[in-house]
């Protein structure tokens, strides 16, 4: 009797612990798949880009021994967090991952990425636009291949601009843009919105010729010079003027439902944004159909100049499993270099990073976008919008560099500079505080810092 009592007590109170042990012994190998004896390889690819899954069918048909599993592990920062967690924990990482150009140096520095130069990628230099190629050629290797690009362009709602009597194709300089913003504001709309976006800040300073960040060739010294760079200051002063005079909408954060609403009803009249925007406009602002147009970015001196916004590479996570890496490289080549693979994605809305597509008449002469239901829309009123965007791609300034911890730096932008858009803080003070934070982070990470 007594023994029975004790037994049940033990069962009851230790039941929880017991169940853990029981389940633990059932653990399957959760690795994302590896080459098995029959030569079949399963690749796990983390990507949030909606055009990537479309390449799987064509690739698997050509490579029956490789199975590709696309996983949306979160967009941008969410994926990077998960990737860092998995790499640090030593399990659960994918075989390949979509990594934006700005984040790639960080992961290369940490040693997460496989150098694919010797797999054949080192000969692809002329295939891609100079900017995107520079973004993946790091530390003397090739750590991924360009999936797409995002040269900045000016997308505008012609109806609103006509009402205000402004023709954006004649607006070349930042001063002219400022005057145009006042006219647009007089109609009740805002010329554009910005509630503090690190990517936008980078793109705009880049376009202005700023080079606030640099890393020495040995990777030990970083230059962080946001406050001392005249070109950064040029942008900050101009943008401050627009914020102070309530000429841009600082309340509507990008990519929210309200933002889409603003684009849809014309209260946000234009966007300075990457060339991948057309498909987002069609789906996010369906009422703008036929009203929007594209033109070149305004610049500080009115001379054509450009920069990139966003754009991603596809990379292979470092591995000793040669069969795995070879299979992954085959898929990488298919998505980023193969004619069929690229065409599949461009048709679905990706903005290409390769010169062939950017120069092909099929691409340049497009006047309509196809929506999810397969219906074609002349969203830009019959304009050959790709022609304009390809020009923007050619104007991208070379030589801009990201920090080797750009993901961290961008993550902190909102904390320090974000306040300048909502509170009374000056934009330049926000940038100063941001600079200080990045510098102290760099020192913590063991870099010597040049300011």
């Amino acid at each position: 009797m007594k023994f029975g009592k004790k037994a049940i007590a033990a069962v009851g109170s230790l039941a929880m612990l017991g169940s853990i042990a029981a389940c633990g012994s059932n653990s399957g190998n959760a690795n994302s798949g590896s080459a098995s004896s029959d030569g079949k390889v399963t690749l796990t690819v983390w990507a949030w880009d909606s055009t990537i899954p479309r390449t799987v069918k064509g690739f698997e048909a050509a490579n029956p021994n490789i199975k590709v599993k696309i996983v949306n592990a979160g967009t941008s920062k969410d994926e990077y967090t998960a990737l860092s967690n998995a790499m640090q924990a030593g399990s659960g990482a994918p075989d390949m991952a979509q990594i934006e150009y700005y984040a790639l140096p960080e992961y290369v520095t940490r040693g997460y990425m496989q150098n694919v130069a010797d797999n054949g990628a080192k000969d692809f230099g002329d295939f891609y636009t100079p900017g995107t190629w520079a973004s993946v050629s790091l530390n003397g290797g090739v750590y991924g291949l360009p999936m797409d690009s995002g040269p900045m362009a000016w997308f505008y709602n012609k109806e609103v601009f006509d009402k205000a009597g402004v023709d954006p194709t004649q607006v070349k300089s930042w001063d002219e843009f400022y005057e145009a913003a006042k006219k647009i504001r007089a109609t009740g709309s805002y010329i554009t919105s910005d509630s503090g976006d690190a990517g936008f800040f980078d793109s705009m300073t880049w376009q202005n010729g700023a080079k606030p960040f640099d890393t020495s060739s040995d990777g030990k010294t970083v230059t962080i010079n946001l406050t001392g760079d005249d070109k950064v200051k040029g942008f900050v002063d101009w943008w401050q003027k627009l914020i102070s005079e309530d000429l841009i909408d600082t309340k509507t954060a990008g990519w929210t439902d309200d933002w889409n609403k603003g684009l849809d009803n014309g209260s946000i009249a234009s966007l300075l944004i990457g060339a991948w925007m057309p498909y987002n406009l069609l789906s996010g602002a369906p009422n703008g159909d036929g009203k929007w147009r594209v033109t070149q970015m305004p610049t500080s001196d009115g001379q054509p100049a450009g920069s990139e916004s966003g754009g991603s590479s596809l990379g292979i996570i470092k591995s000793d499993d040669k069969a795995k890496v070879d299979a992954a490289y085959k898929y990488l080549e298919y998505v980023t270099h193969n004619k069929e693979g690229i065409a599949t994605r461009v048709e679905a809305g990706a903005f290409p990073a390769d010169n062939n597509t950017l120069n092909s008449p099929d691409f340049l002469n497009v006047t309509s976008i196809t929506d999810a239901d397969g219906k074609a829309h002349e969203y830009f009123g019959g304009q050959k919008f790709n022609e304009e965007l390809a020009t923007a791609a050619k104007n991208v300034r070379a030589g801009y560099k990201f920090l080797p911890f750009e993901v961290y730096a961008r993550g902190k932008f909102g904390d320090f500079v974000g306040k300048s858009f909502t509170d009374k803080q000056k934009l330049s003070d926000g940038v100063k505080a941001w600079q200080d934070d990045i510098v102290s982070y760099a020192k913590q990470q063991g870099y010597s810092v040049k300011e």
Partner: protein
């Protein structure tokens, strides 16, 4: 003959009328008495719970709170009838240009090859195995701790009280590292095992067992020769049922709504629960080339909460009695 019945029925009707009149008078008296009592109690400063004073302030406060709680639900109901185009172009609390509710529901279940159904089944798996297991373990553990004396009992008590005070979210990251070492991330185990543990449920069942299962009854069963196992299942368990429902509701809601744990544990959309899946749909809009499907996100959210609403409506009774049961110690 007819006259007789007439007069009989007349008297019956009259009687009825008289009875009604008497009842009315009685009710009036009762109402007057109750009113007087409320007045007296208002003066005295305490009230009879069976005859509570009515408070305008409290009524208004409750009404405000009800509106606050129901507002998101109303928003879901309204916006689940809109197409994506209507959603981004019409007023959030007004109707859209078309009624697309059924269309949306159909699309939710077919989008991405019907991945929503998969997420729904995953959530059900996590709830049935995770929350169900947690409830069972809480019952057994709580019962054992309440009804048996064994060494280390006090230590267990301290551990449980301690672990209630640690929020689950604080444990998620260490749990992630642990599970990664075991190679269990990206598998349902990563979601199931942590869900099996409910210190609060265990504590609740402990207190509940202590009060609702008389020790004398257990002794009687033992004298009659029933095994401990038999006594637990046949005698104690029925007595524990209100507590079980309460614990089950707690664990079901916690598992159904769990967001942070699967977010860091699971990066394989085949094993996502609804919470993570819907968030993935939501963030799909915020990327280059992404197509916003907020109409599906909203309709999906509505579908997601329906099972919980049903569970609450059905088990509400037990929930209340279970919660109150531990409140008074005799």
């Amino acid at each position: 003959m007819t006259e007789k019945t007439m007069s009989a029925s007349m008297t019956a009707a009259e009687k009825e009328r008289a009875a009604k009149k008497a009842e009315k008078l009685r009710q009036k008296r009762v109402a007057a008495d109750e009113k007087a009592e409320r007045k007296r109690s208002a003066k005295a400063g305490f009230a009879n719970v069976n005859n509570p004073r009515r408070s305008l302030t409290l009524t208004i406060l409750s009404a405000i709170f009800a509106v606050y709680c129901l507002f998101p639900f109303a928003y879901l109901l309204i916006n689940s009838t809109k197409t994506q185009a209507d959603f981004s172009s019409t007023f959030g609390l007004g109707p859209g240009h078309s009624f697309a509710f059924f269309d949306n529901v159909a699309k939710v279940f077919t989008y991405n090859d019907g991945i929503f159904t998969r997420w729904l089944l995953n959530t059900l798996l996590y709830v049935v195995v995770g929350a169900g297991g947690a409830t069972l373990l809480a019952i057994m553990g709580g019962y054992a701790l309440a009804k048996f004396r064994f060494p280390g009992r006090k230590a267990v008590f301290a551990i449980i009280i301690g672990s209630i005070s640690v929020p689950g979210i604080a444990l998620a990251v260490p749990q992630f590292l642990l599970f990664a070492k075991l190679g269990l991330t990206n598998t349902p185990w990563a979601m199931l095992i942590p869900s099996l543990i409910s210190p609060f449920g265990l504590y609740l069942m402990w207190i509940f067992s202590e009060q609702s299962v008389p020790t004398e009854l257990l002794e009687a069963a033992r004298v009659d020769g029933a095994s401990e196992w038999h006594t637990f299942w046949k005698i104690s368990l029925p007595l524990l049922s209100p507590g079980i429902v309460t614990t089950a509701l707690f664990t079901i809601v916690a598992t159904w709504n769990n967001y942070f744990l699967p977010m860091i544990m699971i990066k394989d959309s085949d094993w996502y629960p609804l919470t993570i899946g819907l968030n993935q749909w939501k963030s799909q809009a915020a990327t280059a080339g992404g197509i916003p499907i907020q109409n599906l996100v909203i309709t999906g959210s509505l579908i997601t909460i329906i099972p919980l609403v049903i569970a609450f409506l059905c088990l509400q009774r037990y929930w209340q009695s279970g919660l109150a049961a531990g409140a008074v110690k005799e």
